[in-house]
Amino acid sequence: MSTIYILWLRQIKRYLRSRSRIIGSLGQPLLFLLALGYGFGPVFKNAGQGNYIQFLAPGIIAMSILFTSIFTGVEMIWDRQFGFLKETLVAPVSRFNIMMGRVLGGATVAAFQGLIVLIISILAGFRIHHWQSFPLAILFMLLIALLFTALGTAIASMLEDFQGFQLIMSFVVMPIYFLSGAIFPLANLPVVLNYITRVNPLSYGVDGLRIALIQQQHFNVGLDLFLLSALSILLVAFGSYLFSKIQV
């Protein structure tokens, strides 16, 4: 327990100390929200789909959580290069607890980042339909954060340096984002795209957020909750296995 806590605390401290990172990582979601939101707004409306900002904001929140999660997960490569990883590796604590602490810490940071983006969205014109389901939105943010931090950490366990990172961004993170229903509705998609969005875990996160924030659903809450939690657990287990195999 104390291992998990101290590793969690470490992530939080590191996050709070890197103000430039906090501010820098808000630029991208803001740009997406304004450019896409106001740019495609009229087209979206004319197509009879309603207000695009309302539709887009949950997707952008999911995006910022996805990016932050992967990034905090992959931060482990820094630890390896700066040598700090050795300190945790030789410690007499279970690999699962180390993994858990890292993932929970990263996920807290990512979910917090999502919350900031939500506030920015509200400033940009987004409206939450029912505040009663706000806690559900928070839960979904945490689940998305958990899942992708675990994924990022698992990936980082297999990488020795940042050379592979660009590949991960292009072939894992970007596709997960763009093919998730974050920026377009999932209904009536071409067959292939329909299939891909259905196996993409982020689709269920975005769906959950839309349900909680604007009462719009494609799948359903139960399915979203179940898939996200189950996959998070699997990834943490898989990640701690990979972690236990690390050699320095």
Binding site: R14, V90, A91, E160, G164, V248
Partner: protein
């Protein structure tokens, strides 16, 4: 019973053999120095002894526990000061100590005093709230040492602990270690390039070169064997005067390995 028992340890990186069929043992309460030129395989051996690297061949027993099959038990028995940096630079000196204490379940009672006395020992107490990234190389080194002494293991691995430290701190450190060794039966496994240090503190010395142990014994025995007057001369007579290119070639080799590995992915 010997507290460290290494038999036929071998580690290869690609087709390069860094440690070649090395066997040795260290008794409980002994101070054992592992000496050798750059690239001889000292750090690689320590990594195999401390569960960080899996031996290609051979076996390690620490306090009777197997380093591959009983990793947790093994990890409980030792503390280590690494040759390379291993601090969290984004945390303060104090936070690094605290983090270590939690990982090693050092009891909360008296912990703050303990951290204080260790940070005072390495002369960092007044900088305890500075981020480590603002420290000089020597200060980081001293913090690593203080952290390594925070919990009281049965075995302490010190991989060139005094590298880059001033003579005051070095003397200070060795007398502290010697004292722990005498009062708590602490076993010490150390490497260093300062021969006088090894001669002064070590009960027994092994000399490793090109991945093989080429001589073992007390400083006196090594000097007698080579008919020299000091350990430094004995060392040079055993390992030759040629300067090792290992530093450079080894690094190149490592980069090559990394690339090969990255290419495979």
């Amino acid at each position: 019973m010997n507290i460290i028992e290494a038999s036929n340890l071998t580690k290869t990186f690609g087709d390069f053999t860094a440690v070649n069929n090395v066997s040795f043992s260290v008794g409980q309460g002994e101070i054992f120095a592992f000496l050798g030129p750059n690239g001889a395989g000292k750090s690689t051996t320590i990594k195999m002894l401390t569960t960080l690297l899996k031996p290609t061949k051979g076996e390690v027993l620490l306090n009777g526990k197997n380093s591959l099959t009983q990793q947790d038990e093994v990890r409980k028995t030792f503390g280590i000061v690494f040759q390379d940096p291993s601090l969290d630079e984004e945390l303060t000196a104090y936070e690094n100590m605290k983090f270590h204490a939690v990982l090693y379940k050092v009891s909360k009672k008296g912990l703050d005093e303990k951290i204080k006395s260790l940070l005072e020992f390495v002369d960092l107490w007044d900088r305890k709230d500075s981020l480590v990234k603002q420290f000089s190389g020597g200060m980081k080194r001293r913090l690593e040492i203080a952290r390594g002494l925070l919990h009281h293991p049965r075995i302490l691995f010190l991989d060139e602990p005094t590298l880059g430290l001033d003579p005051q701190t070095r003397n200070h450190l060795w007398s502290y270690i010697k004292n722990l060794n005498q009062t708590e039966q602490l076993t010490v496994f150390l490497t260093t390039h300062y021969m006088e240090e090894a001669e002064k503190i070590a009960d027994r010395i092994a000399i490793i070169d090109h991945g093989k142990i080429i001589a073992q014994g007390t400083a006196e025995e090594l000097k007698a064997q080579t008919q020299t007057a000091s350990l430094e001369e004995a060392f040079l007579s055993l390992t030759g005067h040629a300067i090792r290119e290992e530093g450079a070639t080894g690094l190149d080799r490592m980069r090559e390995m990394r690339q090969r590995r990255a290419g495979r992915r």
